[in-house]
């Protein structure tokens, strides 16, 4: 044990892999280390096992081999998962949807309502507490989904292409809002995306995954302070990072073809 300036380890994945009972190899052995306060993005072609990796970390599936160690401070209520779809209960209002994790944990109603109000505030949906999901736009539904993830006071967020189904304009706006929110709340985030620009804009570190074998084949750090202003998208630095990442992805696809 040596003292170091590095923040504590949040997630430590060692050689985790997943083979489904039908023989499909969803994920080759992967190593991954995530420290507190980091915003790490995993980018890669579809079918490379990004979602599987996230599900393993969340405990929604068990690895066939390998270990996944979550820091003690990030178990259960401190960990939240944001799915690709908003995954809201269509029969319930936003208030009830966002309060769900607290209701399931048996938190007293008054306290739960207070926390729910705060979470809805964080994503600027305080005026829509009594709306039903279908009455809201796709972007608002996704923000509600983020509010639900935050309502337990979660510090570690696993996000599986949360804005992937939205149009680019909405996505850019949500990216900015979420970058702001995650810095303010000092969240540790593991974020999966298809989008190079989203990865560069948000992350402190980007991992590139290749498919077949589904494993991490490259990594770049983006050593710029976060949250980054909207204007960052127009800078030469942004373009340079995007180009580099794009090149790495092309490399990952190449390996794929051979």
């Amino acid at each position: 044990m040596s003292f170091s300036d590095l923040p504590a380890v949040a997630i430590d994945v060692r050689g985790a892999c997943k083979t489904y009972p039908n023989g499909t190899r969803a994920l080759e052995p992967v190593d991954l280390l995530l420290r507190e306060g980091e915003f790490v993005t995993i980018i890669g072609p579809s079918g490379c096992g990004k979602s599987t990796l996230l599900r393993l970390i969340a405990g929604l599936a068990a690895p066939t081999q390998g270990d996944i160690v979550l820091s003690q401070s990030f178990s259960a209520p401190a960990l939240a998962y944001v799915f690709q779809a908003p995954t809201l209960m269509p029969w319930a209002t936003l208030q009830v949807n966002v309060r769900l994790p607290l209701d399931l944990a048996g938190v007293a109603r008054e306290q739960a309502d207070e926390k729910t109000r705060r979470a809805l505030n964080q994503v600027r949906l305080q005026d829509f507490a009594s709306s039903f999901p279908r009455e809201l736009s796709g972007g608002m539904q996704m923000r509600a989904s983020i509010a639900r993830a935050l309502v337990t006071g979660a510090q570690l967020l696993l996000m599986d292409e949360p804005f992937g189904a939205l149009d680019e304009i909405t996505r850019n706006r949500l990216d900015s809002e979420f970058a702001e929110l995650s810095s303010r709340e000092r969240l540790t985030v593991l974020f999966v995306t298809h989008s190079i620009y989203e990865a560069v804009f948000l992350s402190s570190r980007v991992l590139v995954m290749s498919s077949r074998p589904g494993t991490i084949c490259g990594e770049i750090s983006i050593d710029l302070p976060r949250p980054r202003p909207e204007a960052f998208r127009g800078t030469a630095e942004f373009a340079a990072y995007s180009a580099k990442l794009s090149e790495m992805l092309a490399g990952a696809m190449q390996e794929d073809a051979t």
Binding site: A76, L79, A80, T87, M89, L100, L104, P133
Partner: protein, 262 residues
């Protein structure tokens, strides 16, 4: 929009009126005797004249129908919940539910009526047998048709089986349940009438089917038509009541009950 709304009401009404007029004209022109086909006016007249007897019978049939429907809903829902909790129970019991469904009610009704002493109970059992299957089938599918993302979410937050059942499976199943209820309501009424037919004139409480049988035997054909009309009207009213319940339960969220532009 409002034009269309009116058309939706006016069109079937017009068809009904044309039918009644045609019926009346055919009976009058061909001079058909009322013991073969009574005209619509005579049927209406009989309905008013025999109102007290007919309504008393209607109440009996309604009581059988309502009791059977309630029983079918309670038993059917309970069975569905059991099926969803255990695949073993489902595979063990579902075939027998199907057997019950495919066996014609007229064939087993006599047995039930022989075995059960109290006629009212026998009729209720027959009507329940007739109407329970759609409740079981639909509710079971509904309880299983849960968004996999939401299941993951509940598992992530360590929800118990009971929490998943109450907060997720039952609301997800509601649209399916109500679709089943609609079918079951019609079947319960049909089951009640069929069972009354089979039970025949026996028993002290006499439903609408009894009135039809009696009227047929006594060649009181207008009365037979009046009773038939009451059964049909009852079916329509029950259907409307169930539809209203469905709307009330689903109007906020389910596609089937959302207002939409034509």
């Amino acid at each position: 929009m409002s034009d269309w709304k009116w058309t939706k009401i006016a069109a079937p009404l017009l068809v009904g009126i044309v039918f009644l007029v045609l019926w009346h004209v055919l009976v009058v022109v061909n001079d058909i005797p009322p013991y073969i086909v009574p005209g619509p006016l005579l049927v209406l007249h009989t309905l008013v004249q025999d109102w007290q007897t007919l309504v008393a019978s209607l109440l009996v049939t309604l009581q059988v129908t309502a009791s059977a429907l309630l029983l079918a809903v309670i038993l059917g829902t309970l069975l569905s919940v059991l099926f969803v909790q255990s695949r073993l129970l489902e595979s063990a019991l579902l075939p027998y539910a199907v057997v019950l469904q495919v066996t014609p009610l007229v064939a087993i009704a006599p047995l039930i009526i022989i075995w059960v002493n109290e006629p009212f109970e026998a009729l209720v059992i027959c009507a329940t047998v007739a109407s329970i299957f759609p409740v079981i089938a639909n509710t079971t599918v509904g309880l299983r048709s849960v968004d996999t993302g939401l299941i993951d979410l509940f598992r992530l937050y360590k929800a118990s089986r009971t929490q998943i059942l109450w907060r997720l499976r039952i609301p997800s199943a509601a649209p399916f349940f109500f679709a089943g209820l609609r079918v079951a309501t019609a079947l319960a009424l049909i089951g009640a009438v069929v069972a009354e037919f089979v039970a025949g004139t026996g028993g002290t409480r006499s439903g609408l089917a009894y009135q039809i049988l009696q009227a047929g035997l006594q060649l009181k054909i207008p009365r037979l038509f009046a009773a038939l009309f009451l059964i049909t009207a009852t079916g329509i009213v029950l259907f409307l009541i169930v539809s209203a319940f469905t709307r009330l339960a689903l109007r906020h969220w389910h596609e089937s009950e959302l207002p939409h532009e034509p």
